[in-house]
């Protein structure tokens, strides 16, 4: 969790509001959520990249482990499957589908073009001991074998893990004497890992630089980000 007021104050300080202009709370909230989603999405590409290099058995220094830790904040296990529709018991958004499980066994994902042949081959034909599923739409999943009696079992026996989207971050405020004053009661902090403070600041600054038509600000933010990435990935 990253305190949004901390980030806002840093951004304002770095943007040097007297010389470069003022970043309004509305603009900040827009930039904040874009930066949060960019960072979140980047995790998956970073994992792919860091898997190419040897890992590290250090307790806190293995990059892939650290990335997984950051992603784990958004992992949920309360997925439900009902008649082909997947949903979350707690109402969370399903950003990425993880592992589907039936009766303690993984339901493996296959592609629509494969299921025809998988079903026709005796050795690969799905069974209750080895079920498979196909994505049919945003929240629709067909599980095989799909006899009526099997589907009745899935309705009560299938669960799945998934990643939910980070909650919308908002710097809450009330207007007093035409000035926006911080209001903690209407504020939502960033859900990202605490180590992302610097990254969030840099990304928001870069976006703000575009709005303020301050190319220098964007360049400085980009350089800071580049330096951070270089340090991480060398």
């Amino acid at each position: 969790m990253v305190n949004i007021d901390t980030i806002y104050q840093r951004v304002l300080a770095l943007a040097n509001k007297e010389q470069r202009g003022y970043i309004t709370p509305q603009e900040f909230n827009l930039f904040a959520n874009q930066a949060q989603m960019d960072i979140f999405e980047q995790y998956f590409y970073d994992i792919k990249q860091f898997n190419r290099i040897p890992g590290d058995s250090g307790e806190y220094s293995d990059i892939v482990h650290n990335l997984n830790e950051k992603i784990a904040i958004f992992e949920r296990r309360d997925g439900l499957w009902t008649g082909g529709i997947i949903s979350s018991l707690s109402g969370d958004d399903i950003y990425r589908l993880g592992t589907m499980v039936y009766n303690g066994r993984e339901i493996e994902e296959v592609q629509q073009n494969e299921i025809l042949y998988i079903n026709q081959s005796p050795l690969t034909k799905p069974s209750l001991a080895r079920p498979v599923y196909v994505r049919r739409g945003e929240n629709q999943v067909a599980i095989f074998p799909n006899a009526t009696s099997d589907v009745a079992l899935y309705n009560t026996g299938v669960s799945f893990t998934f990643l939910t989207t980070p909650a919308v971050a908002r710097w809450g405020y009330v207007v007093v004497n035409e000035k926006a004053m911080y209001d903690p009661t209407s504020t939502s902090d960033f859900e990202l890992h605490g180590s992302e403070q610097g990254e969030l600041t840099n990304r928001i600054l870069a976006l703000a630089g575009i709005t303020l038509k301050q190319q220098g600000l964007t360049q400085i933010a980009a350089q800071m980000e580049q330096a951070r990435v270089q340090q991480e990935k060398q």
């Binding site: 898997n51 890992g55 081959s121 080895r130």
Partner: protein
């Protein structure tokens, strides 16, 4: 951590799954393989469970053929038909033997000098067609084949010089045996009955509706006093058991395609009820109807003349005058004796077409044991691997996945090929069950001069 931690001794000895600790289920093999071999920083970065399961089943099948021990066996008493149906999960036999009163097996040997070929009609005109000469009577729909008791399947297509003038699409819709003659009637595709306008002989050619060459049937039955039944019934009642004369389970109702669903087969005879596997198309309110049945050997159990002759002859194993201790009639003249026939146990051959084992006639009534191998994929319960071969399974799967994947360095594939070979060899050696004391006992006979 221990593998037995979830099963107490008491639960084991009071259960019925004895000796199962020596096996690992295929499901466990697949799960353990995915855990140990698949993932980041492992030899196989990614593999779908479906692929692993496929290769695991292939490994199980291949190892079942030549590495695992064969435990499957069936025992039957050979009936008068001298045939035995192959088991449901049969892949090949390891040994076929008959058992004497002491429970000792006597090995039967395969014979290659006979077979059970498919019967193909061959006319006197050297055509592959079934042809008969029939008598047509002016004004009568009954067409007669004199002096020939033929059981003709209804629905059979008929053509001939005279009949073709009536319609080129004629089928037989009714027939009966009267004395030694066969009488039948013909209809065209529209249901009109053929009635000859002149008395004459016609050379008729029969052909099956499915395009195959018509086969002559020599056995059938005409059951009188049958009925009543309604549409959808699968029981043909008869007035008394005496009306069941000639009918056998396996015969087909020869009333199609108009009255009964074609290929309706008798599945049982229960008192005065004939139970069939398909249903009536037309109702019969009376109890005096005649229903014809026909025996179609090629749909049940092909019996060729070759097999009939082999079955009815005295096999070479039995050609003995029992006057002395020798089995062969040409005692002292055994030069050129073929060793494959120099045995008295008996012979068999497997008819792949019908899926049955055919025995020589000296095996009739004897208890026969079929030891065979399967691919171990028949049921979930038998999908298990002996622990001696567990490592061979992992290596087999790993090699199969790597070998079938693009951009895998060839040295990695070769490494796993060698490891698989070594693991299979180790498993085979272990499963050969060689024990030093048992070998010693066998070798103690090496100093004897005469051995068999």
């Amino acid at each position: 951590m221990g593998l037995l931690d979830n099963t107490t001794q008491q639960a084991y000895y009071q259960g019925n799954d004895f000796g199962n600790y020596q096996f690992v289920s295929l499901q466990d093999i697949i799960n353990q393989f995915i855990v140990a071999y698949v993932g980041e920083d492992k030899i196989i970065p990614k593999a779908r469970r479906t692929d692993v399961a496929f290769h695991a089943q292939r490994a199980l099948a291949e190892l079942s053929f030549d590495t695992f021990k064969s435990c499957k066996a069936q025992e039957i008493t050979v009936p008068a038909s001298l045939k035995m149906t192959l088991p449901q999960d049969y892949v090949n036999y390891t040994k076929i033997s008959w058992v004497d009163s002491a429970g000792i097996k006597h090995l039967l040997y395969p014979t290659s000098k006979t077979s059970n070929p498919k019967i193909i009609p061959f006319s006197t005109n050297e055509n592959y067609s079934y042809e008969v000469v029939a008598e047509l009577t002016s004004g009568s729909p009954n067409i007669q084949i004199t002096g020939s008791e033929l059981w003709i399947e209804h629905g059979t297509k008929v053509s001939g010089p005279i009949i073709d003038n009536f319609s080129s699409n004629c089928i037989i819709t009714g027939s009966s045996i009267v004395g030694n003659d066969t009488i039948f009637i013909i209809q065209d595709g529209g249901g009109a009955t053929f009635i000859p306008t002149a008395t004459a002989s016609d050379q008729l050619t029969f052909s099956s509706t499915d395009g195959s060459i018509y086969t002559e049937y020599l056995n059938g039955a005409q059951v009188t006093n049958t009925g009543p039944w309604t549409v959808g019934d699968n029981v043909i009642p008869v007035a008394s058991t005496s009306d069941l004369n000639g009918i056998e389970v396996g015969m087909f109702v020869n009333e199609g395609p108009l009255n009964w669903t074609p290929d309706t087969r008798v599945v049982a005879i229960n008192g005065t009820d004939i139970l069939v596997d398909k249903t009536a198309i037309v109702s019969n309110p009376t109890s005096t109807a005649t229903v014809k049945f026909i025996s179609k050997p090629e749909k049940v159990d092909e019996s060729s003349i070759t097999w009939s002759n082999y079955k009815s002859s005295t096999p070479s194993e039995n050609q003995d005058d029992y006057q002395d201790d020798t089995y062969w009639p040409m005692d002292g003249s055994r030069f050129g004796l073929d060793p494959q026939h120099a045995q008295a146990n008996g012979s068999f051959y497997i008819d792949c077409h019908s899926g049955k084992i055919h025995f020589s006639s000296n095996i009739s009534g004897k208890t026969v044991i079929l030891d065979y191998i399967s691919d171990s994929l028949g049921t979930d319960g038998e999908m298990q691997v002996h622990k001696f071969a567990e490592e061979a399974m992992y290596k087999w799967i790993a090699h199969a996945i790597l070998a079938g994947r693009a951009n895998v360095p060839e040295y990695q594939v070769n490494r796993f090929k060698k490891e698989r070979f070594a693991a299979i060899r180790t498993a085979k050696l272990r499963l050969s069950n060689l024990k030093i004391e048992e070998l010693t006992q066998i070798l103690r006979g090496k100093s004897k001069q005469i051995k068999h």
